[in-house]
């Protein structure tokens, strides 16, 4: 009885969420907004892929998204270090390092400043075997890079079932010219 009630409640909640999503879009379609005055407050932020999702604990995600970028390192490097040690046997110990020679503390220090570092004079890529963190292209397999640095250990060979998701490409080809993005499904 109780479980039936819980399932029912979950479905109601999901219906409510889904409906509000649709209503959201509908109302905004009709809305007439003119001018550009006013104050706008930050609600989300992104630098590198998947940092908030994978390495920030649920109770801290909002704080991460609402933070000023220059404060992120100070506020979150300890959290990220703890999470790295928790999820990765390749970084759990004090002697453990990844393929870039970083231990959990050093990697956390890098990731906590959640920005994309982008070269204006050289190749831009998240990682191409030679260049590291000089940008992020659409077809960079960024999660494989992050998985390798988190789970791969010193030689990149540890935990082989965790260092790639075996998804190498997008589901549609990217265009070679602006805007590079594929047309929708």
């Amino acid at each position: 009885m109780k479980s039936t009630y819980i399932i029912f409640t979950v479905i109601i909640a999901l219906v409510a969420t889904s409906c509000s999503l649709n209503e959201d879009a509908g109302i905004k379609d009709q809305e007439v907004v003119t001018g550009f005055d006013g104050t706008f407050i930050q609600e989300d932020r992104v630098g590198r892929p998947a940092i908030t999702t994978a390495l920030i604990t649920p109770n801290r995600k909002d704080a991460f998204n609402l933070a000023v970028t220059k404060d992120l390192n100070m506020l979150f490097k300890s959290d990220i270090e703890a999470e790295l040690r928790k999820i990765s046997p390749a970084l759990a110990g004090t002697e453990d390092k990844n393929a870039l020679g970083q231990d959990a503390k050093v990697l956390a220090n890098l990731l906590a400043t959640d920005v994309l570092n982008v070269s204006l004079v050289g190749k831009t890529t998240f990682f191409d075997g030679t260049n590291v963190l000089t940008g992020r292209t659409l077809d960079d397999d960024v999660l494989d890079t992050e998985l390798l640095l988190i789970f791969g250990g010193e030689g990149g060979k540890e935990n082989p079932t965790l260092t790639t998701d075996n998804v190498k490409n997008n589901d549609k080809d990217f265009q070679k010219v602006f805007p590079y993005l594929p047309t929708p499904w």
Partner: protein, 216 residues
């Protein structure tokens, strides 16, 4: 124009609510119009240019894509730090008005941090018609050589995040081979700008991130 919600669509929405790159990444932004999915910055096919792409409101099924729009009360901001202190020295802002996306900058922001104003007096500004769903992509090159695009696209992100979350939860010990791209067949709202590097100062490296800001 309400959609009929089948149990299947409810369950599929529930399934994707659990996942992300930054898609739907925190309790407060999940399924809101300010939810950034991903951020990209890379050299354009013209080496003199740098392209920036922000994707948002991920988990758009083709059906959802027909009606989902950019929120006129949400400003997208591309933040560019040119002197390595992780404070934005230049910003590019994008906000929808009616059927057009307005772009301001690159310009030095009047204030840095979480509370911003639209730089409506910026010397560099332009606007472009938002590409309607499934129509040919509308592109524009402005007077400064800046290229603009806004509209629904395929979600360019690819990852088997469903399996990753099972691994994190202790329900799987590793990824499958072949993997399954959780984002396959899904769309996203995209903003793209391509800017001559000469407009980004004379530094060799920038730090950059994307933010969304809602009108108070």
């Amino acid at each position: 124009m309400k959609k009929k919600l089948t149990l299947l669509s409810i369950l599929s929405i529930f399934a994707v609510i659990l996942i992300a790159s930054d898609h739907i990444d925190s309790p407060s932004v999940i399924n809101t119009t300010s939810d950034i999915a991903d951020y990209y910055a890379f050299q354009g096919n013209d080496e003199a240019n740098l392209a920036f792409v922000v994707t948002a409101q991920g988990i758009l099924t083709p059906e959802n894509s027909k009606t989902t729009q950019f929120d006129q009360n949400v400003v997208f901001q591309i933040n560019i730090d040119t002197n390595a202190d992780n404070v934005e020295d230049l910003v590019i802002q994008a906000v929808r008005r009616g059927e057009r996306m307005w772009f301001f900058g690159p310009v030095k922001p009047s204030k840095t941090g979480t509370s911003i104003n639209i730089m409506q007096d910026a010397k560099i500004q332009d606007n472009i018609a938002i590409t309607p769903y499934k129509e040919e992509q509308i592109l524009k090159t402005g007077v400064n050589g800046i290229k603009y695009f806004a509209g629904v696209t395929d979600d360019p992100f690819f990852f088997d995040i469903a399996t990753f979350l099972k691994i994190k939860a202790g329900e799987a010990t590793g990824f499958n081979n072949p993997g399954n791209d959780t984002w396959s067949g899904l769309n996203v709202l995209s903003i793209a700008v391509e800017i001559p590097k000469s407009l980004l100062g004379d530094t060799e490296t920038i730090n950059t991130w994307a933010t969304t800001h809602r009108k108070q």
